[in-house]
Symmetry: D3
Subunit: 142 residues, 6 copies
Amino acid sequence: MFLVKIRMQFAAAHRLARPDWTDEQNYALYGKCANVNGHGHNYVLEVAVAGDVDPETGMVVNFYDLQKVVEHEIFEKVDHRNLNADVDFLQGIVPTAENLAKRFWEVLEPHIRQGRLYSVTVAEGQSNIATYFGPQPQQVVF
Amino acid sequence: MFLVKIRMQFAAAHRLARPDWTDEQNYALYGKCANVNGHGHNYVLEVAVAGDVDPETGMVVNFYDLQKVVEHEIFEKVDHRNLNADVDFLQGIVPTAENLAKRFWEVLEPHIRQGRLYSVTVAEGQSNIATYFGPQPQQVVF
Amino acid sequence: MFLVKIRMQFAAAHRLARPDWTDEQNYALYGKCANVNGHGHNYVLEVAVAGDVDPETGMVVNFYDLQKVVEHEIFEKVDHRNLNADVDFLQGIVPTAENLAKRFWEVLEPHIRQGRLYSVTVAEGQSNIATYFGPQPQQVVF
Amino acid sequence: MFLVKIRMQFAAAHRLARPDWTDEQNYALYGKCANVNGHGHNYVLEVAVAGDVDPETGMVVNFYDLQKVVEHEIFEKVDHRNLNADVDFLQGIVPTAENLAKRFWEVLEPHIRQGRLYSVTVAEGQSNIATYFGPQPQQVVF
Amino acid sequence: MFLVKIRMQFAAAHRLARPDWTDEQNYALYGKCANVNGHGHNYVLEVAVAGDVDPETGMVVNFYDLQKVVEHEIFEKVDHRNLNADVDFLQGIVPTAENLAKRFWEVLEPHIRQGRLYSVTVAEGQSNIATYFGPQPQQVVF
Amino acid sequence: MFLVKIRMQFAAAHRLARPDWTDEQNYALYGKCANVNGHGHNYVLEVAVAGDVDPETGMVVNFYDLQKVVEHEIFEKVDHRNLNADVDFLQGIVPTAENLAKRFWEVLEPHIRQGRLYSVTVAEGQSNIATYFGPQPQQVVF
């Protein structure tokens, strides 16, 4: 019963606003995060994989393989980008930390071949943190 | 199945000692934390809320609303204070990290209106960390 | 001979690009920082003031007064904003870390009334850091 | 329902390689971590204990007692050592983060007398993190 | 031309207030730091020593020797103490970060036998930082 | 008058010991750092360049160019290596933090073409930090 986690940072701009709402409505809900020209963060991304250790290798999943997947599928597409405008798989959603975590999960999950994806965490700076644990209630054993 | 977390710091003094014990008894149990003139920490407080994302807003709970609740109910009452002497809702308890986490939960819980309070974590510096998960065994699904 | 420093974070979007250059020229120089829709950071801002300690108060400058100045003059104008579009005193410059440090200095300097402004540091995340020490060569004695 | 955690750092060298494999096989699996002369890390070690608070002391377990156990059983044996060559209880295993967490659990578990050992986390730097939750599926109630 | 620095943390309570002033005067100057029951911090202490490297040892000063001096002269006297009441060499001063840095310098300086003491830095948490560079203007060559 | 700094981490093993000394002599001087099988760190490397801002680009030196130089000249040669055995330009020296900073300076200096190299800092973990300011006394103007 192991959990392995990798962590990386990326820098991106975002704006929290529904396109079908007025600026007033968006400011009322999202506050300064609705600023029309966007703002940005050094996001921290954590990807956790649960599983057993392969007794031959001593690993649940090779950290470097996992890093390569996350770099290729997520990091290269979001780093130094505008999350509202530049990222295909984020079109049509408001880029809250929760929605980012959920979409990142959906993008990553098919690529996790050792262990099973356990959670995706997106932190906007050091104070605001969102974790998604997947679409199906999991009976957790730890 | 999301967990959102906010994190903030506060500075406070505390002394670990039971008023009904002698100084010797308190030193024997609490060590240097029983120093009669108190000592202090930059505490880190983390509050986690579990829930589903509102598809309209893309949020479990508005980070700023949650921050405002924690600032108003906890931060303003403990920051730059003496936890043994200055805080109404801490009267009568020894301000260990565990007891702080439990009392903060009890103070915060009635104010969490979106999602449900999942845990309260109190860290004394970076080495000692206590988390309280509430009074009732929860059948966690993630 | 004292140096006192305050540190705070702000989140902002920026794009590195000269408006009088083509996108190709901007990409050639600024790389992924020239992405046309911008990107963002959790910037760290440090402001250092040099001086002697007032023997009456034991302070070079009141940390809270200094914080209030920096919050009012800088933080409130740049936090959750787009540094290319939203900030009056950044119009007409490319918002590199160096240029931000220099403009912040120029904005803050007239408001420092105890001690003298020694340096302004702007960090884009944890890896890239720029410090400005003011317009005039200072003969430093420490 | 509390979780208390202590965190400490140690510096150690390791090499990821199976002695029964060729260097080529080891490089193919472990990449640069198989470098024949080893490399090193400032490992972060976290030990979590679950339990209830003793109403008399306000603690699940005394942080200092827990720290003393971890220092004596783990820290003193691994700090500034070579994990492949110098540590008795690591003989015969490849010192991956997962294997370290598991072996540390097995060493620590008999010494935890208040609460029950919940997890052992070993981080190689800030990017690669492994957590072991013990040999038996635990029905967690929080 | 080298600078070597060690860094450690200690936890302490303090109150900013002049004993010869009224509470009103103290609150007016020191704000919430004047709270009558004190508050506390996890202070960070940095001690920097300048000098040349001994070609035989490759060191300006042995980090462990320097750490032992700072632990013995400062850490053991201030950790988990009340800086207003418990520390001999802090009697009669207001324990601002500036005054702490200055007093720590005066205590440490006679014990630095390799290299020369260059600066003492005291940080209250991560936002407020004070550095003292000694009583005499030094003509710095780096 | 600007200083720009880049910061990166690398993992490496080292042993502090003079080959011409006995183990006893080495232990007497270097303590646990003389452990015969080595130990390791996540080193933090900071490289600072001083200069003026090019008014056309708003930069002292392009952060990415500087990063590429440091990655190519230092990082790729030391990361996940044994500093005693694996690195050409460290042969014949005891790999103390001071000696590493000095040798890194000597390797990097010819490659800094914009601005001038100001300092190289090597930190072993978060507690022990060494900075080298170059071979010649510099009259610093800030």
